[in-house]
């Protein structure tokens, strides 16, 4: 079976994927205004300062919204539908796209507390995904 696409780290995203490999969610942070950004920005989107520094984020967030995908638009997802794609509001103020794992699609609830985990997807790449915080009743 074809596997899901695996991201290929490049120069710009290197610190992000180095971080996930070490179990840390690295995001760009602006020392000038303390703002965070995602996915990768050239300058701080809040105060327009440059350059931005990579810094470990808490990995804590809440589910902003989600959808359940039923279409297969890539052969790697042939056996994966229906699957969730989520927007997660992180404590740092950025909204990440990701998947929530370990929660049945029918139990996803906007506002639920989530925390990051790192999924080893092969090719020495780990990808951040999110799971319900222990004790959270979906």
């Amino acid at each position: 079976m074809t596997q899901k696409p695996i991201p290929i780290p490049d120069e710009i995203s290197g610190p992000f994927f180095d971080g996930t490999r070490d179990g840390r969610l690295m995001l760009q942070h602006c020392f000038a205004c303390d703002g965070w950004s995602f996915p990768v920005r050239e300058r701080c989107p809040h105060c327009f300062a440059a350059p931005l520094q990579w810094r470990a984020a808490s990995g804590k967030g809440t589910l902003y919204t989600f959808a359940i995908m039923h279409q297969v638009m890539n052969p790697g997802f042939a056996g994966a539908t229906p699957y969730n794609v989520c927007q997660i509001d992180l404590a740092e103020g950025v909204r990440m796209i990701s998947n929530v794992v370990g929660v049945p699609n029918a139990d996803l609830r906007i506002g639920m507390d989530l925390e990051v985990m790192f999924d080893d997807v092969g090719d020495n790449v780990r990808v951040p995904k999110f799971r319900a915080v222990a004790g959270e009743k979906p």
Binding site: P7, S13, T65, A67
Partner: protein, 386 residues
Amino acid sequence: MIKGSIVGLGVTPMGKIYGRRSVDFAAEAIALALEDAGLQKSDVDGLLINANIPQDMDPRTQMMLGFENLTLINVMNGYGSTAGAMMQYACMAIREGLANTVVLVYADAPLTPSRGAGASYSGPHRFPLGGMAGLKAHYGDFGANLGYAMAAQRHMHLYGTTEDHLGAIAVGQRKWAQMSPWAQMKAPMTMEDHHNSRWIAEPLRLFDCCLVSNGAVAVVVTSAERAQDLKQTPVNVLGYATCSPGDHLRTDRHPAVETGAKRSGEMAFQMAGITRDDIGTCQLYDCYTYTVLVTLEDYGFCEKGEGGPFVADGKLGPGGSLPTNTGGGQLSGYYMWAFTPLSEAVVQARGQGGARQVPKNDYVLVSGNGGILNFHSTMILSRHAS
């Protein structure tokens, strides 16, 4: 004040018409628009092209179609909002004396016999794997369907919007499509049919999603003075504005439920000197049913969050109090980005809608929307001078 006048409209056959390139459809639409206006190709001195996804409509279109000595030419791209920005550029250039007769065109030909509409529209070139973009591919975040599904889900959570609300929009537009000679989808649709259509990206079903079309639409724009001498009743542009709310990947921003329609609508209404109550028909960008609902809210036809109950009584459909997307829109008519609402607005403002003509057509509101609700345009059109 009249910003400019639309004097010609050309709409090609739409849908599963195979074996023709975008530029071929463009040529046909432009020829139809010039004939409609009573103008010759040699009268044209401006050509504005709406970029499309395959990027096969470029400035060389001028040479491919044989236009000479153009003093205005460009390819413009604000995705589905572009038509509004093209109209601004055309009208401003005409008033500055930079051009006199400007053709605006959108053309696309993504459909092939061997592929479904979704696959045709988002081929493998849209799944880059390098860097952060590769994350999206791994998560399965492909195409616009998911982005709009997530936006609709957020609206449902905040305001209790339901599948019946979205369905009311789809059902109403299908009724309109049955009266339009240009529409692709003519089969009757009930609310039950809507609810039984397959999931695409929950909470959006197949009948919440736009079509994919091969075809082209062109309009001809000139000055109000010159428009008086041409074949058709001029459709005057009285107001236009764009607003792009920007990044949705910040927790302090909510373009999924608060769109650029608000600011761009306010600006366009102020420019035209009219109010919402003057609008007889809306032609709203409808890549999805949800887009219509949230656009109506942001234009102020109802309070924020009340779009669902507002549309539930069928007021957007034939016989309703706010006839909207009267050619079937992009859900049931044809998918030509904002040239779909623009083309139907011209028909309605002229009074040429035949069976689907609305009685109150003095002022027509047109919207465009691109990205995942990232870009927005508004136009107000009328056969009146003010």
